[in-house]
């Protein structure tokens, strides 16, 4: 970059100058945004098209022969004959049931996991007890264990507990803690100035009270970020719910969606119905993110949590 010369260009802020490099950089950026967002548009465009018209006009940018048939099939609102006539399998999603299951599982996991992890994190960060650092080290080592490793034995355990095909069975393994959640909350509690706690102690508050009335409210921002990420993760989880649930009573949206995809006729996929179903399955997380995007993005940008 050249030094600023004493001409009229000096009046304009430096960032404004367009060099070939900057044009290139913006082009790359625009291409990346396009690749990021194109699939979202294509879901919508396909979901609103009819299967017959899709085959005839695969490249049209706008929905072809617009119809809500895809959504009706995905929601199980069409009769079997009608669905098959439009290229569906006749097997619909019991959408509201799966949505409820997903909400129950994700909420249960998120609320419990964060409360319990925060409590443990507080004990690791702020309470004095023997063996504290050793126990914390053990928790941390849990980060290294790949999920597949615990899934098989966990499945055996859940089966022995008689919880297969239940929402509790899906939730239990991650309900109490994850090493990451404990680690993340501990980082926060360790950075809270000790004076805050001492002031409350002098006022005669007990430590349990301090935790719930002082520390937890102070941690609302990291808790929100962790909460939304946990919610997204448990909402999107597929492997474990697939193992544990067999019937509609415990089926969550991801599993239902994969089954809907497997049911669609192999000779010609029901793309319109499939895209409507994916949109329905993804929409709640997009809405949730829409609400909290700014805070989450800036927390991740600043803390680099994973």
């Amino acid at each position: 970059m050249t030094a600023v010369t004493a001409t009229t260009t000096k009046v304009r802020p430096q960032r404004r100058r367009l060099s070939p490099g900057k044009v290139l950089a913006w082009t790359v950026m625009a291409a990346m945004v396009l690749i990021t967002l194109l699939p979202f548009y294509w879901i919508l465009r396909t979901a609103l098209s009819s299967n017959a018209a899709l085959a005839a006009h695969p490249g049209d940018v706008l929905p072809v022969d617009p119809t809500t048939g895809g959504f009706e099939r995905a929601l199980g609102l069409q009769s079997t004959e009608e669905a098959i006539a439009q290229g569906g399998s006749g097997g619909g999603l019991k959408f509201w049931r799966y949505l409820l299951n997903s909400v129950v599982v994700s909420t249960l996991i998120t609320v419990c996991q964060i409360l319990f992890s925060a409590m443990a994190a507080y004990a690791f960060a702020r309470l004095r007890w023997r063996g504290r650092d050793k126990v914390f080290g053990l928790f941390l080592a849990g980060l290294m264990v790949p999920t597949i490793f615990t899934l098989l034995p966990n499945f055996v355990l859940i089966k022995q507990l008689g919880l297969v095909d239940s929402l509790l069975g899906i939730s239990l393994p991650t309900m109490f803690m994850t090493p990451f959640a404990v680690f993340f909350m501990r980082q926060f509690f360790m950075n809270v100035p000790r004076e805050v706690e001492e002031a409350a102690l002098l006022d005669g508050a007990g430590k349990i009270r301090i935790f719930f009335r002082v520390m937890l409210p102070m941690a609302s921002s990291p808790i929100l970020t962790l909460g939304v990420l946990t919610y997204i993760t448990s909402w999107n989880d597929y492997f474990w719910p697939l193992m544990v649930s067999y019937s509609d009573s415990s089926r969550v949206l991801t599993v239902a969606l994969a089954i809907f995809r497997a049911q669609t006729p192999q000779t010609g996929y029901d793309w319109s119905g499939l895209m409507a179903a994916t949109l329905i399955a993804a929409l709640p997380m997009l809405v949730l993110f829409g609400f909290f995007a700014r805070r989450i993005v800036s927390t991740i940008s600043f803390t680099g949590i994973k």
Partner: protein, 321 residues
């Protein structure tokens, strides 16, 4: 995993990164608290401890035990010593799936790291827009199942928009997910699409820790953006990059959902990644012992990689201090 401090503005200090460093001034606590907090700590840690022991610690031990048994869920596990491991070593499908997994990991990590770095640097040097940061994160909100189905559709040989564009350019259509050569790279790229924004944000966090005056000073000296990238950004970002890399390697070795939704291991085992093979052995053929042995192998591979990467990166660690 927290790469930097959890309270903005982000700064990498040893105290934050070091997990078990003793707290300063913790001794003073006794004066007010009146002795240790043993009982209270036990109460606070009980639920997390229960979950840890029941669903993480015990299953790990049990998984190792099961790998030495023949077990089909219906009858009690029967001790068979090293049989499962012997079988694994002589199983060509196991080695094939390991090879496919490694191929996937290389493509996934390579493309993802380079693109994430590019996005992070562009976000840092070009604009600090929070909206753009939000946009790059949106694919992360999709489940792997959704991402898999969407790309299955977009890359469909006859009707997919991808092939429509390719055909429009006068080129031959590519059967992305139905062809043995294309399937693994395609799945790897689908997962790059879903995860790259998140990785970029993690790297962005690392970039935020680099003081802006370093760039200003370099600019005064007449350094180009390209030169600043190699002389300032890369060296200072390396510790963060290393941690992010370890996490993504561990994550990508565990690819499953996308394969299950798009190719189901095919065509002709071309996408039969390790995790998928383990799953099939356990729940398709009820060979829980054998599946556990392969899980132990996966754990061993992951531990080895983690240790190796820590060793390699510690040597070249930089500090902003």
């Amino acid at each position: 995993m927290t790469v930097a401090s959890s309270s903005p503005p982000s700064r990498l200090s040893p105290r934050d990164v070091e997990g078990t460093a003793p707290q300063p001034r913790s001794g003073r606590k006794r004066e007010h608290g009146g002795g240790g907090d043993g009982a209270l700590a036990a109460l606070f840690i009980a639920p997390a401890m229960l979950g840890f022991l029941l669903f993480l610690f015990w299953p790990t031990l049990r998984g190792i035990y099961l790998s030495f048994t023949r077990f089909n869920l219906l009858t009690p596990a029967e001790w068979v010593g090293l049989d499962n491991y012997r079988r694994m070593v002589n199983d060509p499908i196991f080695w094939d799936s390991l090879k496919v997994t490694v191929e996937y990991v290389f493509i996934n990590i390579g493309v993802q790291t380079v693109s994430a770095l590019a996005i992070a640097v562009l976000l840092q040097r070009l604009t600090q827009s929070a909206v753009l940061r939000g946009v790059v994160l949106t694919p992360y909100l999709m489940s792997n199942v959704v991402a898999g189905i969407v790309w299955l559709w977009m890359l469909d040989t006859q009707l997919g928009i991808g092939n429509e564009i390719i055909a429009g350019l006068g080129l031959d259509r590519i059967p992305f997910l139905a062809d043995e050569t294309w399937a693994i790279p395609t799945i790897a790229l689908i997962n790059v699409w879903r995860h790259v924004g998140y990785t970029a944000l993690l790297l962005f966090a690392g970039l935020q820790a680099i003081p802006n005056d370093m760039y200003e000073a370099a600019k005064v000296d007449g350094a180009s953006e390209w030169r600043m990238f190699w002389r300032i950004t890369m060296p200072l970002l390396r510790p963060v990059l290393a941690v992010v890399l370890i996490m993504t390697v561990i994550g990508s070795f565990q690819v499953f959902d996308t394969v299950a939704v798009t190719t189901n291991g095919g065509p002709a085992n071309a996408t039969n990644v390790l995790q998928f093979y383990i799953y099939g052995s356990a729940f398709g053929r009820f060979q829980f012992g054998y599946a556990s042995a392969m899980s132990v192998a996966l754990l061993a591979v992951l531990s080895a990689i983690t240790i190796l990467q820590y060793r390699l990166t510690r040597a070249g660690q930089t500090d902003l201090g």
